[in-house]
């Protein structure tokens, strides 16, 4: 049995792999066995370190040395100097950009860690179905402190001072919202948790509820104490069965332990939570529509004011916050407003959870401080674009957001900067697209979603989006004109200005932002009837190269519509009037004779 006393960890993340980390590992193994050290030093491939900009990364344990931008040629030096002689290889150490100091020991140094987990602090740490594990990590301590040591006004002041803003997308200051509900007159008040996460590709709230349901329950009780409510409601979509189950378990445990119910912690404060199920309508993420849906009415928004803080659920003052917003609250109380507001940018404090998806290497759930740039998120944490392709665009804010180009990669992420850039924070979906994606099709895809999810109450959203979609369909079919582009813009702006709720007001964003940022692609579609990314089927043209075609008849036999003709052993031909552009011929041809343009 080998008795390893040293470990070499070589990053095997996709980014580092592309820069020869495999070769680095092999070199380590080779040199170590040459020196007879193979039984003492173990070489291991790891996943991504999240610092791809400085990759390939090699970390040596137990002395925690962190080498950056290592090449296969450097390996001998590391083995000879570091492993054999115990001297660190200075030129490969990371230099702190702040003061140019070399960092020889990565113990406790988090210089390369771009993420901070506040809302996700317990996700992946505790068993979500065991309240004691939550209590062990200071769970319910914030509620205890608030109830026994602070007045509701004091707690609201802490939340206000922290600078926390609504994580559901709007970014309304949470403390202010609580204060408004507190001040509203009413014999009965409600606290509502909005768990109607509906953006395609977003799963932040689901993960929090599945991984740390007690944090939301605790925060709702704190909110109830502040606004003067003894009843909490969680509006959650029925298609989140596991989140629902874990919430139920958590609520029951909290009741059993006396952390929910009557006379909580002997302070005379009562609070109970009930679940309300939604049927998965996107518009019900809008707070007035959500409240109507809870009341058993159609999930349609109404004009604000009156705001839910004055007249919400059953006409009573109601405070609606999103899951992630609530998950931040206990930490803010425990650690203090100053601790929280030290993280982030001037106007956006704390962190934001993003569901990072699309054509990216490390798809995942991440939490970064406000002010982190899109580049850091995509290239360092996300590990860059899949298959070494070129980055094209990043979509933030889901169907209500916009598509940003590489010119925006260095924008620090916060509510205001993203709005300025023509997109929005939204609830935290982030979808990365590469050169193979057609931006006109992407705009059409998102519009299809909002079109389906539009409740139909107001005309601009119901009919306007339908017309927008028709124009986009025309363009992707190669029948669009330049006038259509003007129409898209005019109509888009009208919908934005005149729709009743957030869904309609933001639904043209994907179209307007792609018009702004990817005009050349729209022009290629309308002027040349071409799709530069090769995504718009109707604009593709398949033909057969006479010189390469051997007349093997494979395409002829596989064409589902009989559009291909030709004699055996002589070049074949595609009848354009019959071709449905399914691409089977291209896939089947062994000689690369099928051309596509």
């Amino acid at each position: 049995m080998a008795d390893y006393n040293m470990h070499v960890l070589v990053c095997g993340g996709t980014g580092c792999k592309a820069s020869e980390s495999e070769q680095i590992k092999n070199n380590f193994k080779k040199y170590l066995s040459e020196l007879g050290l193979a039984d003492e030093v173990q070489v291991i491939t790891t996943g991504c370190f999240g610092f791809c900009e400085k990759g390939p990364i090699v970390k040596i344990l137990p002395d925690n040395t962190f080498y950056t931008q290592v090449t296969p040629k450097d390996v001998w030096e590391i083995v000879e100097e570091h492993i054999v002689k115990g001297r660190k290889v200075k030129h490969l150490l990371y230099k702190d950009p702040k003061n140019d100091h070399l960092i020889p020991d990565a113990t406790g140094m988090d210089f390369y860690k771009k993420q901070i987990r506040i809302a996700l602090r317990n996700c992946g740490f505790i068993n979500p179905e065991n309240v004691e594990e939550y209590i062990a990590r200071d769970g319910y301590a914030a509620l205890g402190t608030c109830l026994s040591e602070k007045t509701p006004e004091e707690v609201i002041q802490v939340v206000k001072d922290s600078g926390l803003r609504g994580r559901g997308g709007g970014g309304f200051p949470t403390g202010l919202k609580w204060e408004l509900t507190r001040k509203a007159a009413g014999d009965q008040k409600y606290v509502v948790c909005n768990a109607d996460e509906g953006d395609p590709g977003a799963f932040m709230d689901r993960s929090i509820l599945e991984g740390d349901p007690h944090s939301v329950i605790e925060a709702m009780a704190i909110c109830g104490y502040c606004v003067g409510a003894d009843k909490g409601l969680v509006y959650i979509r029925a298609e989140y069965p596991l989140a629902i189950q874990r919430l139920k378990v958590a609520i029951n445990q909290a009741k059993e332990y006396g952390l929910l119910g009557t006379d909580i912690l002997g302070t005379g404060f009562h609070f109970d939570i009930e679940l309300k199920y939604g049927a998965g309508a996107f518009v019900c993420g809008e707070e007035t529509a959500l409240i109507h849906s809870m009341e058993g009415l159609r999930g349609e928004p109404t004009v604000k004011p009156p705001f839910p803080a004055e007249s919400g659920y059953l006409g009573k003052p109601t405070n609606v916050n999103n899951v992630e917003t609530f998950a931040n609250i206990p930490v803010i109380i425990n650690k203090g407003a100053a601790w929280f507001s030290a993280i982030g940018t001037e106007k956006s404090k704390g962190t934001k959870v993003f569901a990072l998806a699309g054509n990216i290497n490390n798809v995942g759930l991440i939490e970064v401080p406000m002010g982190t740039t899109l580049r850091e998120v995509i290239y360092d944490i996300g590990g860059g674009i899949k298959d070494g392709k070129e980055f094209k665009s990043v979509q933030t804010g889901g169907p209500s957001g916009g598509c940003l180009t590489k010119d925006f990669l260095d924008v620090p992420i916060d509510y205001d900067n993203l709005l300025k850039a023509g997109s929005m924070m939204g609830s935290g979906g982030m979808i990365v697209m590469d050169e193979g994606d057609c931006m006109v099709s992407i705009a059409k895809f998102y519009l299809e979603f909002t079109l389906e999810e539009s409740c139909g109450k107001c005309t601009p959203c119901r009919i306007g989006n339908k017309r927008l979609h028709e124009i986009l369909d025309k363009i992707t079919s190669g029948k669009g004109t330049r006038e259509d582009l003007d129409r898209l813009r005019i109509l888009g702006n009208v919908i934005k200005d005149t729709s009743l709720c957030g869904l309609g007001q933001t639904s043209p964003n994907p179209v307007l932002s792609t018009l702004d940022n990817f005009m050349d692609e729209y022009l290629a579609h309308v002027d040349e009837h071409k799709c530069p990314a090769g995504q718009c089927k109707k604009l593709l043209h398949y033909s057969i190269d006479d010189e390469k075609c051997t007349g093997c008849t494979l395409c002829f036999r596989n064409c589902p519509v009989g559009a291909i003709s030709g004699e055996k052993r002589s070049p074949h031909y595609i009848d354009q009037s019959l071709c449905i552009k399914c691409g089977v011929c291209l896939e089947k041809c062994k000689f690369g004779a099928v051309l596509i343009r």
Binding site: A2, D110, E133, G144, F203, L265
Partner: protein, 131 residues
């Protein structure tokens, strides 16, 4: 369970559970146990986390290795599901990605039994609220 009546009660329970967990992790006592957490959010389960967890429990029992296998929420590494976190008493926790049955067996045979790490470790790339 009797209800928690005061803030002091809550703190006492917190300290008790904390020391219980500490004991388990540091293994100062003879009942030191290997601890495995399996990431079991919807996405992890969809990628096979349940099978991995069942396999780990069965195989550890079959081999007579004392270990605590529990479920936890999303660790955030969607690209590497199913993921598990392994804590050997007295050592730092290690996260492994892409843990199917084969990988699980390799982890049991090498890491748990021999103390050798195996390929597929996911480095912790975030700060916690306590840092």
């Amino acid at each position: 369970m009797t209800k928690i009546k005061t803030l002091a009660d809550l703190k006492r329970i917190r300290d008790e559970v904390q020391s219980k967990i500490k004991l388990r992790e540091q293994g100062d006592k003879p009942d030191k146990l290997v601890q495995i957490k399996v990431s079991m959010a919807t996405c992890g389960i969809a990628s096979g986390a349940k099978e991995t967890m069942t396999y780990l429990i069965d195989e550890l029992e079959h081999q007579g290795i004392d270990a605590v296998v529990t479920q936890t929420g999303c660790m955030g590494y969607c690209f590497a599901e199913p993921t598990i976190e392994l804590t050997i008493p007295g050592k730092e926790p290690v996260v492994y990605g892409h843990v199917g049955k084969e990988k699980a067996l390799e982890i049991i045979e090498k890491h748990i039994k021999l103390g050798e790490m195996v390929d597929g470790i996911i480095p912790v790339s975030y700060k916690t609220i306590d840092e």
